[in-house]
Every structure is written in C-alpha cells, then in structure tokens.
Subunit: 275 residues, 2 copies
C-alpha cells in the first residue's frame, strides 16, 4: 500500500491504531464455539465494530496455523473479508518469515499474491538476500523485525558491535537493500531508550510498534520519540482490545477499548499539529 494512503487514512480516522487479531479459541467467548467457524465469526464481529477506529489489522499467523487447515481457512476468510469490505485498511501478515532467496520468494507469493496482504513481517536473521524477494513487490510493504519488545531481545539484537548494537547495524545496512523504501520496522514500545536514536537513522520509514499496554510500553512517551511529519508510526494492540469482553457484547467491549486508544492518539496528533 502506498504510504500516502496510510497517512491519509490516519488523518481522516484520527487514529494510528492497528488491531492484532491473535485469536485463541481458549480465550474467545464460549458461545462462539458452537458456530461453524468460531475464529472467523469472532474476527468478523471485531472487525465490523472496530474498523472505523483503527487503520490496520495484524494477523499473527501462529494463531491460525495452530488450528491446522481449519485455521488457514479462517485466515483466508478473514483477510478476504477485510479486503472486500474495508479496502482502505492496511493489512499485516505477522508471519515473521525469512529464508534463502528462492524460498523467501515462495513466502512472498503466499502472503502478497495468494492471500493478498498489504504487508508482511520478516525476520532479518538471514540477511539481505532473504528480505529482498519481499521488497521486489512495489505495491507491498515489508516490515522487518528490528528491536522486539520481549526480554530475549537482549540475547541477540542488543549485542554490542564495533559501532553500535546488532539491531542498529542491521537497520543501517537495510537502508542499502534494493527497494528499501518499501521497508517498515518493528520496534518494541518497551524499548524507549533507543527510540530517538532509531529515528535519527530512519527518519522517514514507518514503525510498527507492539508492546503498548499488557507488555508495559507507555503510549505518550513512545509517540513523542517516534512520530514524524508523516506520522510514521502504527501502534498495535492485540489482547488489550480483542479480549476486552467475553460475553455476547465482546465486540462492543472491543470497540470501547479501540475508541479509548483512538482518543489518546487523536490528542497526540493534535498536540503534534498533524491534524
């Protein structure tokens, strides 16, 4: 998706919220389990009740794969439902894939062509030639894991190198990759001490930021350090929104939570003179 379309959507919805559809059958309202496809029914209700308050949906493929073919069908139905009904929405396959060139090309085909996601998260451990097959798609965005929000980020991403940290060297070198303009970066909200430095290196690229809420990231502080003239950030919330309620009114509860985050974002956009 063109970045301009994302920016325009943010400005018109006054929100830069991404809702993470990480559906766990053990956590969704019990009454849905009697339906033919509980995962899709859950997603459909959440989407119908939140699409006006968010600008993106992120589907973590792990949650769908866990249910085998049934799960993949629900994934397909969900992405099709979004594309057919709310085509302005930016869709993210949170798949964290990455392999040697030819194999990454297969993954790119699955997620960009067959499933028609606007973007995919990619694990950069195998380097340039494992990411470039995704970058070849000019109408798609490739979101590489840079600095993740979890504890284990220190084990590899935060190893010190001659000049910096591993993740920072990676970000720098990613700027030289073919079509690097199509790159976005996953940066965890819990890593506030690195945010300003990251923005110096990639002032223009969009950041996908998980880790607000449950994981402890502070929305205002994170935004202050990362927002740019093009807004430049998408904040994800998954469990905090989709599991707000667990009865027949779960989708309304999710909507309420999305509105609450949207209002905080609207305030930040106004304060930053971006709307």
């Amino acid at each position: 998706m063109e970045v301009l379309k994302i920016v325009n959507q943010i400005k018109s919805k006054r929100s830069f919220l991404c809702v993470g559809l990480d559906v766990d059958l053990e956590k969704i309202p019990k009454f849905l389990l009697d339906k033919n496809d509980p995962i899709f029914e859950f997603n459909k209700s959440i989407i119908d009740n939140t699409h006006m308050h968010c600008i993106a949906y992120k589907l973590n493929t792990a949650f769908y794969e866990a249910y085998g073919i049934k799960g993949w069908k629900a994934l397909e139905k969900t992405i099709n439902y979004i594309n057919n009904n709310y085509s302005e929405i930016f869709t993210i396959a949170d798949a964290k894939r990455g392999d040697i060139g030819n194999t990454s090309r297969m993954y790119a085909r699955s997620f960009f062509e067959q499933l028609n996601f606007d973007s995919i998260t990619v694990n950069p451990y195998m380097g340039r030639d494992s990411v470039e097959p995704f970058l070849e798609y000019n109408d798609k965005n490739t979101i590489i894991l840079a600095l993740t929000s979890n504890e284990g980020s220190k084990d590899l991403q935060l190893i010190s190198t001659a000049n910096d940290y591993v993740f920072m060297d990676l970000i720098k070198s990613s700027k030289t990759w073919n079509n690097s303009k199509n790159l976005m970066y996953v940066i965890g909200a819990t890593k506030t001490e690195y945010l300003e430095e990251i923005r110096k290196i990639i002032p223009d690229n969009f950041l996908l930021i998980p880790g607000i809420g449950a994981q402890g990231g502070n929305l205002k502080e994170v935004c202050k350090k990362t927002i740019n003239n093009n807004i430049g950030i998408i904040i994800n919330s998954s469990r905090g929104i989709i599991y707000s309620g667990n009865d027949e009114n779960f989708a309304q509860a999710a909507e309420k939570e999305a509105i609450s985050l949207k209002k905080q974002m609207e305030e930040i956009l106004i304060d930053s003179k971006l709307i």
Copy 2:
C-alpha cells in the same frame, strides 16, 4: 527423537543423509499434475524410493504454504505418511519460526503436537524466550539457525562483536537456555572456515548442514571438520536429489542420487572408524 535413535539409524543405514522435500509444482514431472494431489504423489514416490538411504526428511514449509490450503493438506499427508510407514525416520519441519513466548508456544503446538514432526527449525533473532517454548518438549529437537549458507549470512550473523561474531555469541548463549540439550544447529556447508571453531563450542550437539552440492559446499571437507564420536551431523540435500529426473522414472533417479551420496557418507563413516 532421542539422539541415540538417530545415531543407531545412521549406523545401520550407513548414511547421515537428509532429503529435503521442497516441492515446487513447476519443477516436478509434468505427468503428475493430472493426479489429485500432485505434491503428495511426488513426495510419496520419493520417500518410497529413498527411505532406505537417508535417515531424515526435511519439509520446508514455504513450499507448502505457497499453495494455500491444498499445500497444507499435502504437508499433513506427507508427514503422516512418513510417520505411519517409516517411523524410524527423523522428521524436520523447516519452518524457521520464532516469536514472543506465548506465540512460539502456538507454533510448537502446531508442529510438534498437531503435525507430529520430530523437530523444527527456529529463527533465534528474538532470543531465549522465543526458543524455550520449543525446548520444553523433551521428546522433540529444536534446530536453531546459527550460520546459514547464503550470501546474506554476512549481514547479521557475521557482524563482529566484542569477543567473536554474532552467530558465535548466539551459540554460546544458547548453551545456557533451559533444556539446551534438545538443541541442534543449522550450519551452512559453505562456511568451512568456521566449522572447527563451532565444534569446539558445541562438541556434542547435532548439526544440520545444508549447502552441499548446488550451493557449493564440499562434503568431505565439511564432514572432516564436524563429525564427532556420535557422528553428530546430518547433511541435507534437496534439489540435488528430488529433481534428478523429470519423467516417469523420477523416483528412481532420485534414489540413484541418494545412493551416490550415501556411498560417499559410508566411506567417511568407515574412514572415521564410526562403523
């Protein structure tokens, strides 16, 4: 799978070959395309004709995902076929997954419980807590990407750190993870200059080595530098075996190629006084 079972299988088959079932519909014999499930039919023939010469099959999930639900069905049928008919074989889901703890747990459930693979390849970029959910399964093996065979391995894995390289720091720290005895490591055959050093750090763990043949790795040299008293290596070949022929006799051509590699391995095992 217990390492002892793998070692015994290697000794009795006189081979430490893994056949990579990376099935691309554009590369399999044309006559198979008329069948109901060409991917599975191809795999079944390859397996029936190579299982006595190899000790493992590796299924790269990218190739199956590329065909959507049809592909996932072929993946399920293939792993079930191996488990039901050749239960001694060590099975590898080459999925290169890895995510925050709870999400990795979903992946572990998919590949270890639902699909019943013996092992999975895991991308370690997100660190300890992204890998440990896989390691919790005591009867399964977790194979982390350490030093891959592709050009892009230099972009991140080979960045210099205070003491060593990123991939080497990773291997060292992985030894402190819970249940690290269940770890194996992917080490590319093209990286001969690092093999002896790697073996010093992890003398006992099994290495899964791709990159022989098409990618240029030399079998004898690689084995000399990595084989241990427990053999300790599994050498993968994918395209070099499964696409040896492209007519009705493709499975026999694959068998011939597998036998040729097996004979070279047998010689190495004899020279090393391991059989």
